[in-house]
């Protein structure tokens, strides 16, 4: 009973954990680079959800403090942190997408299996080239 009550009062945090693990699963198991980035984004979202929830207050108003308003107000700090976090996440995601575009241009695929094949093929080509021109 007590466990259920604790879980219920912390349900927001538990959902964030579930989301975090879902993202981690996608990041770790997917062979597709774009899906890995999506997994990373799901993890990021879960952390933002968690942090913003720490600033929540039951029956509280947004922290727009007009004179004379008694509150209670949500904590402004987590909002500011998450805003910064989101900007960082956008930056990382866009860089990841551009890198994926370059990987695709160079290896012809965004699937790790196919990239590994293409790398192996490239290695043998490079080696035969080296043998062919050992005295350049």
């Amino acid at each position: 009973m007590k466990i259920a009550a604790t879980a219920l009062s912390h349900v927001d945090y538990l959902v964030a954990v579930a989301l975090f693990l879902t993202g981690a699963w996608i990041l770790l198991t997917s062979g597709n680079l774009v899906k890995k980035v999506i997994g990373l984004n799901i993890m990021e979202t879960s952390v933002f959800a968690f942090i913003v929830t720490t600033g929540m207050i039951d029956g509280g108003a947004p922290p727009l403090v007009a004179p004379g308003d008694p509150g209670p107000f949500a904590s402004p700090l987590p909002h500011a942190l998450v805003l910064t976090g989101i900007v960082v996440a956008v930056s990382v995601t866009s860089l990841a997408l551009v890198l994926i575009l370059r990987v695709r241009a160079e290896f012809g695929s965004v699937e790790l299996d196919e990239i590994a094949l293409s790398l192996a093929a490239g290695d043998t080509a490079e080696q035969s080239e080296r043998h062919g021109s050992a005295d350049d």
Binding site: I51, S91, V92, R102, E106, I115, G122
Partner: protein, 493 residues
């Protein structure tokens, strides 16, 4: 007092704003961009040295950004760990000088200004990370140097660089998330983000959620520092990057992970029951990393991959020292972080000069280069011996102190690990030296090679001299970091 501390935020702002201005002012003038970047890094180095002198002179000081009380605003502070900004600024300066000719060939002309901008921003992020006293600010500066580092790896033209950078990015971003998550946990538990405040509050708190934050921070920073078994992103990224970038990454960016661990230890210094199991784990992971990294380095054919694996080994040494938690081991680890930075950047720059001149990167292909590129080859040979920990050079101080600490802590087996790893390092050092000096050239590119331009050999030579000088200055360095080691861990045996 006030006038001095204003320079603390400038230490970070100067390279950041200077970096942002680089593509605005010098997009079509690569040579001017290089000159500008070198100037900005020089001024930053001067600021860093001035702050260090102030620190030595009258002890640590802090700065309230915006004039707010520490909890409400952001506190920056200069302490012995923050003093790492001096080697960081100087090493970036030398790498920038080295970049002048290297980058002209390795990067498209239209993108050279972006390259210099990213290196400067990387330095700014590192400096801010080193001097901040605020948990979330730590995360922000970490992201600045991380995002620029991912991009710098990918500025290399080789196809593999984009894949290596992507791998680095995915792991780096996931580890940053662990750190951010832990920041959230600490905030939920204490309601503050100031490191000192939070440390005081955490010392009184219940073990479990605090343990979560500790695990998150430790894992996140361990990935950034490439501790075994989360090191696997490092060799590809450091080998694929342009040589001056490899130098900055191996010398400084992975050390930022170490600094992150030190800050974490500071945060949990009061919660000893949590810290002890973690420190034990870190010692043995470090030992595995030291052995495994050295052995992997031994079997590499590519010289930059060899150096990258040797970084994994040295990070292992440093973590052994941090985990042993005795006064001599911890100060040894902190000193080794600086010494390894100097040695490894010399090695990467020397390797870069050789690759620049010959286009070859296999150790066997570089045979006989010692006569053709005397200064560069001498720098590489000398620093390889320094890397193995031979006295009186820079690699010795830290390893000796860590070994002493292992004996004090009652782990003689760790001394064996250190000795074996040292022998392996010496073995691959001798392999390279043998190839450079005692074998005839096998390649036309080697036989016709000439010494690299002064902008390349001069930084290598200066770092080589520094790797001897820092070895001779071992005792003052240990005395300098001693108090910091004590204050981070609370008290040390």
């Amino acid at each position: 007092m006030i006038e001095w501390s204003h320079w603390l935020p400038i230490l970070a702002m100067l390279p950041l704003v200077g970096g942002a201005l680089t593509p605005l002012l010098f997009r079509h003038r690569p040579a001017a961009a290089c000159f500008w970047a070198v100037s900005v890094a020089s001024v930053t180095s001067v600021v860093a040295i001035a702050l260090l002198l102030r620190l030595v002179d009258s002890g640590g000081f802090s700065y309230a950004v915006g004039g707010w009380l520490p909890q409400y605003g952001i506190e920056l502070r200069m302490d012995e760990v923050g003093a790492f900004a001096v080697p960081a600024s100087l090493l970036v300066l030398l790498s920038l000088v080295f970049s002048r000719h290297y980058v002209a060939r390795a990067v498209d002309a239209s993108r050279v200004s972006f390259y210099y901008a990213l290196v400067l921003i990387n330095l700014g992020g590192l400096n801010g990370f080193l001097v901040t006293g605020d948990l979330f600010n730590l995360f922000v500066f970490m992201e600045i140097f991380s995002v620029s580092a991912y991009a710098l790896v990918a500025t290399a033209r080789e196809p593999i660089a984009s894949l290596a950078a992507l791998k680095y990015l995915l792991l780096g971003a996931a580890s940053s998330l662990l750190v951010l998550f832990s920041v959230g946990v600490v905030f939920a538990m204490t309601g503050t983000l100031n490191l000192e405040d939070a440390a005081a509050a955490l010392a009184l708190s219940s073990p479990m959620p605090a343990g979560l934050a500790l695990a998150g921070l430790a894992t996140g920073f361990a990935v950034k520092a490439a501790l075994f078994p989360v090191h696997f992103w490092l060799p590809d990224a450091h080998a694929a990057a342009p040589a001056p970038v490899s130098a900055v990454l191996s010398a400084l960016v992975v050390k930022a992970g170490i600094v992150g661990v030190l800050r974490t230890l500071e945060l949990f210094g009061g919660a000893e029951s949590l810290l002890q199991p973690l420190l034990h784990l870190v010692v043995w992971l470090g030992a595995l990393g030291a052995l495994g990294g050295a052995l992997m380095a031994l079997v590499q054919r590519d010289i930059k991959l060899m150096l990258a694996y040797s970084t994994v080994a040295n990070i292992g040494y440093i973590f052994i020292g941090l985990g042993l938690a005795t006064a001599s081991a911890v100060s040894g680890a902190m000193v080794h972080a600086v010494n390894h930075a100097v040695i490894k950047s010399a090695l990467f720059l020397a390797a870069g000069a050789m690759i620049h001149r010959t286009g070859l990167r296999n150790i066997d292909d570089l045979r006989g280069l010692g006569r053709r590129m005397p200064v560069t080859a001498f720098g590489m040979a000398f620093t390889l011996i320094a890397l193995s920990g031979a006295p009186p050079m820079a690699g010795f101080t830290g390893k000796w102190q860590i070994a002493l600490g292992a004996l004090q802590a009652g782990h003689p087996s760790l001394v064996a690990v250190l000795v074996i790893a040292g022998i392996v390092v010496l073995a691959f050092g001798i392999r390279v030296i043998n190839a450079l000096y005692f074998r005839p050239p096998a390649r036309v590119a080697v036989a016709s090679a000439t010494e690299a331009p002064a902008s390349m050999w001069l930084p290598v030579l200066m770092l080589t001299i520094a790797s001897l000088a820092l070895g001779l200055a071992g005792t003052p360095m240990l005395e300098f970091v001693g108090p910091a080691a004590q204050s981070i861990y609370g008290t040390l045996p």
